[in-house]
Amino acid sequence: MRYLLTSNIDGKLMGALSPDQQKSLNDTFISFTQALAQSGVLRGAEHLHPAETATTVRNREGEMLLTDGPYADVAEVFGGFWIVEAPDLDSALRHAHECPAADVGSVEVRALHELG
């Protein structure tokens, strides 16, 4: 099965880190992704620009409405994702446990709907 791991970063926890700690956290993100790639289970991964750079679109009564910023103002902000191949949920959860985003926010794990 394929699973989507989404990273949701808690701004408060991130802000509390020293520049050195932030740098080492970044390195951990890179090594986590590399380890997934090397073990052959990585099917895709992307890292997003900060949430405040988002533009949100809504169609209302024929009008296109734009909002500057993310769709909801929440403590944990969607920051990136990985798609991994895993035999079952437990294996996918182990990857999530290894993911540094789980230390400074949360990692949501969801199976992808396999078409066909």
Binding site: M1, Y3, A86, P87, D88, L89, D90, A92, L93, R110, A111
Partner: protein, 419 residues
Amino acid sequence: MADPVGIGVEAVYRAYWPTLVASLARWTGDLDRAEDAAAEAVAAACENWPRDGIPAEPAAWLQTAARRRVLDRIRRDHVARAKLVDLAHRLEDSPAADAISDPDDPFGAVRWSDAAAEDLLRLVFTCCHPALAPSAQVPLALRLLCGLTAAEAARLLVTTESTVAQRIVRAKRKIRDAGIAMTVPPRDDWPGRLDAVLAVVGLVFTEGHAATHGPALVRTPLCDEALRLAALLRRLLPDEAEVLGLSALLLITDARRDARLDGGQLVRFDDQDRTAWRWPDIDRGLVLAATAVQRAGARPGRWVLQSSIAALQVHPVPDREAVLALFDRLAAINGSPATLVNRAAAVAKARGAQAGLLALDEIRPAPGDHRAALLRAELHHQLGEYDVARSHLTSAIDAAQNDVERRHLEARLTDWSRT
């Protein structure tokens, strides 16, 4: 009517239900199909057995009936034809258990082949997977492991049948769609996974023993289901200290069931009529608790510690310091508000009311829990501080959600108002 041990059709099929579902779940790889087919086989048994007698091998009878129904269903379902071929090839693989010989405990009588036990263990770990919410795990366990219908489970949990049915459906869908594997987890993952299993059994028992809401304090049938689950785990995992500890705790606690109520009124532990306790169960619990301690070695878990505490507490003259020492260890590994309040009570018994109040001061009470306020009230009362005691008792009454418990507290308030 043939009834090998005179325990009735329901007891017989319930004894075989968990292995029936478990083996169907492995065979079909699909909990839905397994549950439906097991239910249909049981319905057929309820129809046929009273008329024709209970078959000599009830397990084999139920397996055959259920597997025939799975195949019938699939035959009617074009899409699933391919699966039929696969299942037909595996039709011969081991059905589960056989004859009942001793009705003493619900499963003690049923012999499980290793394969049947393995199937059952897989089902237990699946129903109690930590990725499922407790509100899903409990109804799923009551349905698939205890063999209750959604209506029966709803009655025990004091909710509606549709709520329970929905939770079961959602849980099964999550198991399927999220890819929760129906496997026994690797040994390395056992501590956490077994914790989740034991927590489900503990939750079923707690909800039965001290119902958090509603008119009755004790929901006896729910306690019975928890004891049944504990017995099942003990059969499957006889060497796990925590399983033995949980079993011991439930037996010792449940043995006091009849003494906790007197004419609909709650009776406090210290005031209970000890002759109304079921001593044979307590004795069995004490033996299990002792074995659990031995198996646990240097690092007893929460259930071993709790069963040791329960074992000490039924002694006519409990060793208060030993109880407190166990509570200290328990609080170190499981600092839930309930544990900390109970620890404060143990502090008060060992070191006096003032020390108990100091221990209470360190706890942040859980919202909606009346027990911290109640203990505070009792301790102030012991110290002769009656006004403070009454005001805390009033807070406890406001927070209590169970009708029997609230009546008990209100009666005490009336009593205290005279002092």
